[in-house]
């Protein structure tokens, strides 16, 4: 059984690749630079003796061609899962951001994952497979910062709900995680008010729950601040600078 990890070169994606490889799964690891995915593929093959194929692909493109992943899949056992820990944010992401950044953030966090889902859905329905997406606590409420990122991740959440509805009677497991802060490069330089979770810990949760469906907070206690922020009256929320 083969899993595709889109955004597998670093952070959570790399931790997921390691966790699934440790369980004996074959993998296709996708991100932009083959210099990152090829060493990871070699590492997992040496360490866990599983088959891993690296693929270099730019997800900020339209139309998005998935031929390279499909070609890699021809060499693997049947597809079982699509894991999409891909994501970007930007320091320039405030209301009024430039068109290029807006498009890039929307494509990478929302449009490309949806295209991937659409493309692999038939095969995954057939194999009673798994689709996993990753959103963020930034979606609790739209703020001045992370404006396009939160909007794109909210759209992704909505698409996942539609997916769950659409496939409710099939054997497909589809889940999306609302993630708190992670100790990865995405948040490395940010001074954050709460501790950062280790990506390995999140990967363990994702692996353990891979055949379940629905929305999940990870780490779980993030549900509380998420709901508190949602319930704040506008008169207070508008004054918060975070």
């Amino acid at each position: 059984m083969t899993y595709i990890v889109v955004g597998g070169s670093s952070g959570l994606g790399r931790a997921l690749a390691e966790r699934f490889a440790a369980a004996g799964c074959e993998l296709i690891i996708v991100s932009r630079d083959i210099r990152d995915t090829a060493p990871l593929a070699a590492h997992l093959a040496i360490k866990y003796e599983v088959k891993v194929s690296p693929v270099a692909m730019e997800m900020n493109s339209s139309p998005l061609s998935l031929d390279a992943i499909d070609e890699a899949l021809d060499d693997h056992s049947p597809l079982k899962g699509l894991l999409m820990p891909i994501g970007i944010n930007s320091d320039d992401d405030v209301v009024g951001l430039g068109a290029a950044t807006l498009l890039r953030i929307s494509r990478i966090n929302y449009l490309s994952p949806c295209q991937l889902i659409n493309h692999y859905l038939p095969a995954l329905e057939q194999s009673s497979g798994v689709i996993v997406g990753f959103s963020s606590v930034a979606t609790a409420r739209g703020r001045g910062k992370n404006a396009a990122y939160a909007a794109a991740k909210s759209a992704l959440e909505s698409y996942f709900e539609s997916l769950a509805h659409h496939t409710a009677d099939t054997g497909l497991s589809c889940q999306h995680y609302i993630l708190g802060y992670l100790d990865t490069n995405l948040a490395f330089a940010q001074d954050l008010p709460f501790p950062k979770a280790s990506p390995e810990r999140v990967a363990d949760v994702v692996y353990a729950r891979r055949f379940s469906s629905g929305r999940q907070f990870c780490p779980r206690p993030w549900y509380i601040p998420y709901r508190v922020v949602q319930l704040l009256p506008w008169s207070i929320f508008k004054r918060l600078a975070f």
Binding site: S9, I46, T184, F188, A189, D191
Partner: protein, 442 residues
């Protein structure tokens, strides 16, 4: 510059004596490694276990290599493994042992990285038999922002290879390393402990030992007990008993220094040392331990370091020739007693190897001394420096965070050649650390 992935971090040496705040990046992609502009001063960092500030420096971007920790190529016929520089020694050994392989030169803490080991050309538990780390390195790739990725070995680009082994990160960032592994003789080590009355006796024991692991530990507090100690000798053995897997909680420079003050002083040091000696007398002479426990004694035994607290410790490590070692240890004893030095413990290892770049290696005996810090510490270290110079000793720059440049000039035998070669190789000295600034290598 390195938008979004650089932050300010306050770095502290493992001995806790020096801290400074500078920019910090933890690259996990090649594009991150290459991102800062080519004139930005920088220095690579591994696990941060150096006692000196060799992996950080003022106005230098610290590039922490711990995410570059992948195995790249394994050749089972040759027993060679190509891996990235940020692989920790424990990850290397946990991979190698089930494959009946091991790496012979292991410094005492499991989270030290292979890149840090090449850069300081570290030693393991028996340098007399195994030499130093770089002796087991076949090939390196070194990234320099203005020169790109350069492959080097003893045959290809030999000057760069020689400068990088023991070069403390000053030639560039090692991205990958090909290591020669050794066949694992057996799954366990029988470690014998012999009580000795003094350093001379220990030296005699070490000289006549054919053990695979050989070193000694001594009480170094000033007084009648000075030099009483234990000689450890380990031999590979087939174990019949079920060995416990090694467990440890990571200790870093900051978790080591959690106690606000040092618990070590003359009284506590004497009590602790006497307890160790007594315990050794009451215990079996030989115990069978797993390879990891034998190689990483400080992993499960963190109290010694932690009790130095925020005040920190001072360590000096030096190599002295076989001819001079007797005279040196006698002079050392006199110096400690005369100055009532705050010394705690002392250790000896027999050594054989070739000195490289700024590293400490050669033939003779390694002497390591640990001190708690008080008003007498710095004076003692200045007198010790003089003693090392008089004895023609070599100082280990990664274990002593204060070696002044004039002492380094006399006790690091390769320093002048290294400086000349470095200035030719990198006229702008893009790679910089507190150590390189202190030694005048800018």
């Amino acid at each position: 510059m390195t938008h979004g992935i650089v932050r300010k971090t306050c770095f502290t040496t493992f001995d806790g004596t020096l801290s400074l705040s500078t920019t910090h990046q933890r690259p996990d992609r090649f594009s991150h490694l290459e991102l800062p502009d080519t004139t930005t001063h920088r220095i690579p960092r591994g696990g941060g276990y150096s006692y000196s500030a060799s992996s950080f420096g003022e106005s230098s971007l610290v590039q922490e290599m711990t995410c570059f920790n992948r195995f790249l190529e394994f050749n089972p016929q040759q027993a060679t493994l190509k891996l990235e520089a940020g692989v920790s020694l424990i990850d290397l050994m946990e991979w190698a042992l089930p494959r009946k392989l091991y790496f012979p030169v292991l410094p005492g803490y499991p989270l030290i990285t292979v890149g840090g080991c090449v850069a300081a050309d570290v030693h393991g538990k028996n340098p007399y038999i195994d030499g130093t780390f770089a002796d087991w390195v076949n090939q390196l790739t070194v990234f320099h922002p203005q020169k790109g990725y350069q492959s080097c070995s003893r045959e290809v680009n030999p000057n760069l290879f020689a400068m990088t082994c023991g070069g403390f990160g000053l030639t560039g960032i090692i991205t990958d390393i090909t290591l020669q592994l050794a066949e694992l003789p057996s799954p366990a080590i029988a470690l014998s402990r012999k009580s000795v009355h003094g350093l001379e006796e220990a030296q005699f024991e070490l000289a006549s030992s054919n053990a695979d692991i050989a070193y000694s530990w001594h009480d170094a507090t000033a007084g009648a007990n000075f030099g009483a100690g234990i000689v450890y000798a380990g031999h590979w053995t087939e174990s019949t008993q079920q060995l416990k897997p090694m467990r440890f909680r990571p200790m870093t420079a900051s978790t080591r220094a959690k106690l606000p003050l040092s618990a070590w002083n003359r009284v506590s040091a004497r009590i602790a040392n006497s307890a160790v000696l007594l315990h050794n007398r009451l215990k079996n002479d030989v115990s069978v331990t797993g390879v990891l426990d034998a190689c990483f004694p400080f992993a499960s035994n963190v109290y010694f370091h932690k009790l130095f607290g925020k005040t920190g410790l001072r360590e000096s490590q030096f190599l002295v020739s076989e001819e001079n070692v007797g005279q040196c240890t006698q002079a050392l004893k006199e110096l400690i007693c005369e100055t009532s030095a705050p010394t705690m413990m002392l250790s000896l290892k027999r050594f054989k190897g070739t000195q490289k770049s700024l590293s400490m290696s050669g033939t003779g005996y390694l002497v390591a001394i640990d001190c708690y810090r008080n008003a007498r510490t710095e004076v003692f270290f200045q007198r010790l420096d003089q003693l090392i110079v008089e004895m023609g000793g070599q100082i280990n720059l990664s274990k002593d965070s204060r070696v002044p440049p004039e002492i380094a000039a006399l006790t690091v035998s390769g320093i002048t050649d290294f400086k000349n070669n470095l200035f030719e190789y990198d006229p702008q000295r893009i790679m910089r650390s507190e150590l390189s600034a202190r030694l005048g290598l800018l």
